[in-house]
């Protein structure tokens, strides 16, 4: 029945695509309405400005610019208007415009950055977004906001997100995100619209995105709209800057971790940006006894070309690798020589075509390839030689296109599709002998339709449906989504959302692993149903005096078909590769934030209860942290100094206790004898909890000039009071009585660096 419904919905959606308004010129001459459209850009570098507030003074007509800086206000009566654009951190722009019936006035507005981040202008821009959009469970952060949060060595996207309510971090060593009771593989990570499969370096200690190149990131922790799919819990959409269209600029940074550089500038009819980052410890200690044979690097670039007023092409790429290159010679003949070269990393390439078909009808098409490689070549040479090779690869070839139509009064309609060809190839060989080989090539097709409907002046509805087809097992799924916002009072809005989500990929990860170098992604085979989730979210946003914004959200999530790797599965039985689990997550989140004035930041608290159920037992997953509190504060001290403080508190996370031990015997088949050793007698899964987690980090930055260039040195202290937060416990049963060792997370770590720009 469901399949039939899904097929019917597919036919309807396809029909809708075919019947979409034909591409053509402007509104007809006989049209009684006027419209105004165009782009809003930064006056200093020409970068498009998203979420700028564009409105006509004296009316309630207005809109926000898109992520690409585009705006359109349709259905206007002929006449003269005072046209105004405002955005947080920029001076307000105003001009009188004369609009004529049947004509579209096209404007490009350049906003000048303001030096003082406060006042009525910025409040208005913030408020407009609050009033005009249904953006439940959504947080947007800019490069500037990322840079001022104290972090280990340098600013980091994922570690900043870990400080938001609803997001849990398992340890200081991991920047993976556990969002509202979901595991990290349930997060969709997009870089300029392209999926990134392992967005981490050094096993998750650092994230893969270089903040210098980031324009904005949007993080949706639940109830996300139909244009996003394929994951159950959250979406992180990172948008890189497009490059300065006015002049050639450069910037750089030197931290204890890495050296970074960025160059940008104009091109004929466009702009370019190139950013690079590399760790340097391997070079510093290369010829010393402390040789450090590991490094990582990222390289990202973007070229924009405006083919005409209506057509823009963007070519962007990201290349990042972790490299472990290690050689050791045995000191004598009894020791072996080892030669190891291990390279793993992401590569993404995308071509984006934006076409403004008419002012109220525009499209975006993305062709992309995302690839993750994990290649190891290790040779051990002793009395003989053995060579181990790992050759693991994911290739994701995707095409996406959507059309947005604003020509229907009160509606914003988006219609789109995406298609992905996923190629998984994993192999292990020893001395050219293939130990293991796995290949799979599923295809994923999605069609979606979304409508943002301004029902009443104070009531907005976002509704949509996403239809997906997954080729392994020929599975269809239909995912309705709904978002609602009601402006109950001038300063208070109530919001709610509902959504169904389906995920066809999973990662191979043991629940008990404390550390994982990378995620190994696998498509769900035809023997298992896809993983699904439902989100129910409700909350409110309240604007308080002193530019304070209080957001409160409660949620309830159900999960079905969750897959946990069964490491002891029987090889020839494809139906016991995983334990299949159901689950629930419920929680309450409070966020009090202030983004203007000398003291900025947020206080966030979340309560979350997550449970998993398998056929055998019910348990709390290892990331079930009941209470989390973060304070992220930045205080300007005088003209040039900024003090940043982050305090994090979390109740203990579950672990499996070891209350006992026993002799585990085994009959040695080769020697026909009994052998045994003491092993752990584990208690019930995740039935104990680690002690409280808390930590304080501080940073001090000074903006200034050095040799004529802008320079911002900074000092950061991680774990200021050297709290010994527990990472895990380790039992040594070789000692009698057994010895318990507590392994702690980050100790007190001072780091320093300098950012410069020219």
């Amino acid at each position: 029945m469901l399949k039939k419904n899904a097929e019917m919905a597919a036919i309807l959606l396809l029909a809708a695509l075919l019947l979409a308004p034909p591409p053509g010129g402007r509104a007809s001459a006989g049209d009684k309405w006027a419209s105004i459209s165009g782009f809003v850009r930064d006056a200093s570098n020409g970068e498009p400005l998203p979420y700028a507030n564009v409105y006509l003074v004296g009316t309630n007509l207005g809109t926000l610019t898109s992520l690409r800086g585009y705006f359109v206000i349709p259905h206007l009566a002929e006449g003269r208007y005072l046209f105004t654009v405002s955005l947080l951190g920029y001076q307000r722009w105003q001009s009188e415009v004369q609009l004529h019936a049947g004509a579209d006035s096209v404007l490009t507005v350049h906003l000048t950055p303001s030096t003082i981040e406060m006042g009525e202008v910025t409040k208005t821009a913030q408020r407009e977004r609050f009033e005009r959009e249904v953006h439940i469970s959504t947080v947007a952060l800019t490069m500037r906001q990322l840079q001022v949060v104290p972090m280990l060595a340098e600013a980091d996207v994922f570690r900043t997100l870990q400080l938001l309510p609803g997001v849990v971090s398992r340890s200081d060593f991991s920047s993976q995100l556990y969002v509202r009771g979901g595991s990290p593989d349930q997060n969709l990570v997009l870089l300029d619209g392209v999926s990134v499969y392992n967005p981490f370096h050094l096993g998750g200690v650092f994230s893969t995105f270089n903040v210098d190149a980031i324009k904005e990131l949007e993080f949706l922790s639940g109830g996300f709209p139909v244009e996003y799919g394929g994951r159950l819990s959250s979406v992180l959409a990172v948008t890189n800057r497009e490059g300065n269209v006015k002049s050639y600029r450069g910037s750089g940074s030197l931290s204890l971790l890495s050296v970074r550089g960025l160059a940008e500038g104009p091109l004929p009819s466009g702009s370019f940006l190139i950013a690079a980052r590399r760790t340097y410890f391997d070079q510093v200690f290369k010829h010393t006894r402390y040789a450090f044979p590991y490094y990582f690097y990222d390289l990202q670039g973007k070229i924009n070309l405006d083919l005409s007023q209506r057509h823009r092409l963007t070519l962007s790429g990201f290349y990042g690798d972790d490299v472990l290159d290690f050689s050791a010679e045995g000191e004598d003949e009894s020791e072996v020589d080892v030669d190891l070269n291990w390279v793993w990393g992401n590569r993404t390439t995308s071509l984006i075509w934006r076409w403004i078909i008419r002012p109220d009808l525009f499209s975006e098409t993305i062709l992309s390839r995302s690839r993750f490689d994990n290649d190891l070549d290790a040779t051990v040479e002793g009395s003989g030689t053995a060579n181990l090779m790992l050759d693991n690869r994911i290739n994701d070839y995707s095409a996406k296109a959507d059309v947005t139509y604003l020509g229907l009064r009160g509606h914003g309609i988006k219609l789109g599709f995406s298609w992905s060809d996923l190629d998984f190839r994993y192999g292990i060989a020893i001395d050219d002998y293939r130990l293991f080989s796995y290949t799979a090539r599923p295809a994923l097709l999605a069609l979606y339709l979304q409508d943002h409907w301004q029902l009443r002046a104070r009531l907005q509805l976002n509704s949509g449906v996403r239809l997906e087809h997954y080729s392994l097992g020929n599975r269809w799924s239909l995912s309705p989504r709904l978002g609602l916002q009601y402006q109950i009072a001038a300063n208070l809005a109530l919001k709610a959302s509902y959504g169904q989500y389906t995920q066809y990929l999973t990662t191979v990860a043991s629940d008990e692993e404390n550390f994982s170098l990378m995620d190994l992604w696998l498509p769900i085979s035809k023997n298992y149903r896809p993983q699904t989730a439902r989100h129910y979210v409700a909350g409110g946003e309240w604007w308080l005096p002193h530019d304070l914004i209080l957001t409160m959200e409660g949620y309830y999530k159900t999960f079905a078909g969750l897959l946990d790797l069964n490491e002891k599965g029987i090889a020839s039985d494809p139906t016991d590769d995983y334990f299949v689990a159901e689950g629930t997550a419920r929680g309450l989140e409070l966020l009090l934030k202030r983004q203007t004035g000398p003291l900025q930041g947020w206080l966030g608290y979340s309560w979350c209860l997550t449970k998993r159920r398998t056929a055998e037992h019910t348990y709390y997953p290892k990331y079930d942290r009941r209470h989390t509190f973060h304070a992220v504060l930045n205080r300007r001290l005088g003209r040039n100094w900024t003090l940043g403080v982050v305090f994090s508190y979390g109740s203990g996370m579950p672990y499996t206790p070891i209350p006992g031990k026993y002799m585990a015997y085994e009959w040695r088949l080769d020697r026909n004898e009994l052998s045994g050793h003491l092993v752990d007698r584990p208690g019930a899964k995740n039935s104990a909890r680690f002690p409280l987690y808390h930590r304080m980090d501080v940073s001090l930055r000074r903006e200034g000039h050095l040799f004529g260039i802008s320079a911002t040195p900074y000092l950061q202290i991680i774990n200021l009071y050297n709290r010994k937060n527990v990472f895990y416990y380790f039992w040594d049963h070789d000692a009698n009585p057994s010895r318990l060792t507590t392994v702690s997370m980050f100790p007190l770590l001072p780091t320093l660096g300098v950012d410069f720009a020219f």
């Binding site: 209350p659 015997y665 007698r681 584990p682 002690p691 808390h694 009698n736």
Partner: protein, 232 residues
């Protein structure tokens, strides 16, 4: 905020393992070995995590019997937790089901059941077969066991290098590096009953399948076939 953080820092510490109230359990290892006709039995206590483990870990004075294939055999305490047949020897028959019962002096009781698998019959390689060292070795066998669980082991004579593979199919490849050196190797393919198979796979899991009522450990059975191969 710093004051509050420092106050919090004063709290916490290591886990109090005694809070888990773990009561030691009867730890059984009982294995029926078809080829030698032996029954290996160890009977011990488990321990709390921080307890000192004594030299003699055995449970003394338990009543241990195994019933099966129309027999009932009693096993007597040999000291150190070892129990062995005093007179009558248990006859092991492929396909027969055996029931182990244990009563310890403090009144606790343990029971478990296992089925003796039929020994597999090696098809390849042939006995005394000469093979090239550092080459893959295909191993193929036949089995009449309804539950096909196998342990395959190869061990060199000179290098005493031992490699083992668990499988549930009746063929496997021994990778070249297991037979890297010229040597005389003994290859064994053992059929395992479900209990011993699960024990070997899952004893380090959080919640292992013990298949034992009233205790932990295993009551299992194995039967094997073997070949000698010469790698040159």
């Amino acid at each position: 905020m710093l004051a509050a953080a420092l106050l919090l820092a004063a709290c916490g510490g290591g886990p109090d393992v005694n809070e888990f109230n773990y009561e030691p359990e009867i730890n059984v290892f009982a294995l029926l070995l078809y080829n030698s006709g032996q029954t290996v039995i160890r009977l011990e206590e488990s321990y709390r995590a921080l307890d000192r483990v004594p030299e003699d870990r055995g449970i003394a004075g338990a009543r241990v019997t195994i019933k099966g294939a129309d027999q009932e055999v009693a096993y007597v305490d040999q000291g150190g937790g070892r129990y062995a047949e005093a007179g009558k020897i248990l006859r092991l028959e492929p396909g027969a089901t055996y029931l182990l019962t244990i009563s310890v002096p403090d009144g606790r009781e343990v029971a478990a059941q296992c089925t003796m698998p039929a020994p597999p019959r090696l098809i390849a390689p042939a006995d005394q077969q000469h093979i090239a060292a550092n080459d893959a070795l295909p191993v193929v066998w036949q089995s009449e066991s309804p539950e096909p669980h196998f342990l395959v082991n190869v061990r060199g004579n000179i290098h005493a290098y031992s490699a083992e593979v668990m499988t549930d199919s009746t063929a496997t490849d021994f990778y070249p590096f297991y037979l890297a050196q010229p040597d005389i190797y003994v290859l064994k393919v053992a059929a395992l009953d479900r209990n011993y198979y699960d024990y070997l796979r899952m004893r380090d899991e959080e919640e292992p399948l013990w298949h034992i009522r009233g205790g932990i450990g295993v009551f299992g059975a194995i039967a094997y076939d073997e070949r000698v191969i010469i790698a040159e």
